[in-house]
């Protein structure tokens, strides 16, 4: 892939003209910058094929077509999304239908767990639990097991729960798509290693030379490193309807931004509530006994949360209920 880049020349002016008369929102600005980057790449290609910079700019803009088309496509009215692209069909109902409650959406998108998966998980969890119980008992004089058996139990414990983890992540659920196999196995292996390493530690402390702690530590640290890597590179695996619900939930709670006065009122109420609570502590302490004093703090916290709920959602209770 050639990577010739053009400086743009006339392009920037032409792009400004194409966007003339369009209200500049952050989304539009973002789209414009994205288009600019793409057009510069297209111009680089055209210039490499021998066009002058001015011609390349005109040609690239002409190929883009009418910018208004790009802006109006956000609804479902555009041809591409109604043309039954399966990915687009999922969770993109008409705007009016978007107010679906989370419970209704969850019911409609419900995915039943596979029977085999449930059986596997139950059996493996029992094996893992039994291994842990035997390990703990084996460490005590009740059931003094040999060192080899204890290490074996630690390994079984890690293997069983690691397998449960990998299995669970590679299942499709109501809210999540299944995780790709490699990543699911990675999570399972890291979890298993972490748990086996942790279970191995008391065996070392009680039965082995303490130098073996290095091995347990290496397993635990390696597993934590692997889990950190997997966590940092994790991408979305929620289904579109869940993403939609999250977006709606994010729309509430902006009352303090929309109405700074209610934010200021909340600040004053909070100060009053906590002043009363702190004054109440010694009063309750000296009269009813110090054991009751924390009640003042709990009362203050409850009062503050009630005020917060009232101030954030009071006038918009319908919105708040819709997203619950």
């Amino acid at each position: 892939m050639t990577d010739h880049r053009s400086s743009g020349g006339d392009l920037h002016r032409l792009l400004d003209e194409a966007f003339a008369g369009i209200e500049v929102t952050p989304e539009i600005q973002d789209l414009k910058e994205e288009i600019r980057g793409n057009l510069l790449a297209r111009m680089g290609e055209l210039e490499a094929s021998g066009l002058s910079q001015a011609d390349a700019a005109r040609r690239a803009i002409a190929e883009l077509g009418d910018v208004h088309e790009l802006i109006d496509v956000d609804g479902t009215a555009d041809a591409a999304s109604t043309a039954a692209a399966p990915a687009a069909r999922v969770g993109s109902p008409a705007p009016a239908a978007r107010a679906e409650s989370a419970t209704a959406a969850a019911l409609r998108n419900r995915v039943r767990p596979k029977p085999g998966f449930v059986v596997r998980t139950v059996v493996l969890s029992i094996i893992g639990g039994a291994a842990l119980v035997l390990l703990v008992l084996g460490l005590t004089p009740l059931l003094a097991l040999g060192t080899g058996a204890l290490i074996g139990l630690a390994v079984v414990f890690g293997l069983a729960l690691g397998a449960v983890t990998a299995d669970a992540l590679s299942q499709e659920t109501t809210t999540n798509h299944r995780m790709p196999a490699g990543r699911a196995v990675g999570y399972g292996a890291a979890t298993g290693l972490l748990l086996a390493g942790l279970a191995f530690t008391p065996v070392v402390v009680l039965h082995l030379d303490l130098a073996w702690l290095v091995l347990a530590g290496a397993a635990v640290i390696g597993a934590i490193g692997a889990l950190s890597y997997l966590g940092a590179t994790q991408t979305n695996r929620h289904k579109p309807w869940v993403v939609q619900q999250h977006r709606e939930a994010a729309n509430i709670g902006t009352r303090f931004e929309d109405d700074p006065a209610s934010g200021a009122r909340f600040g004053i109420y909070t100060a009053v509530i906590w002043t009363i609570a702190f004054v109440a502590i010694p009063i309750i302490g000296f009269t009813a006994g110090w054991i009751w004093a924390p009640l003042a703090l709990i009362g203050g916290f409850v009062a503050m949360m009630l005020v917060l709920a009232r101030m954030l959602f009071g006038a918009k209770s319908e919105n708040a209920r819709k997203t619950e």
Partner: protein
Amino acid sequence: MTKDTAAGATPDDAFAADLLRGHTDTIVLGVLRRHDSYGFEIYKLIRDATGGAYEIKEATLYASYRRLLRDGLAEAYWGDESQGGRRKYYRITDAGRAAFTQNVAAWVATRTIIDSLLGSTPAAKKGS
């Protein structure tokens, strides 16, 4: 394109273009599945893959990116190009990979059904 392709349809037929456009999101996911990419590169990869016979309109692609972002099937991030315009890169998510796999399976199933309905299965053609 040999005479073997179905019913002599040329890819620039409105019908063929419609069929392709209906799968824009899946096609884009297919490109992103290999590596992160930005708008023009995706456009070019699709154009080159069709031998230049068919071009997905840029407006269709921008609409597709927006749907993919909205549905959580792809993530966007800005590149760190120092000169010229910055590029907006798209990365497929785990949800996107799952949706891609599902869509490909759906396509294969549909293709078989339509082939048998239209009598255009490769085996039937060879036999005739």
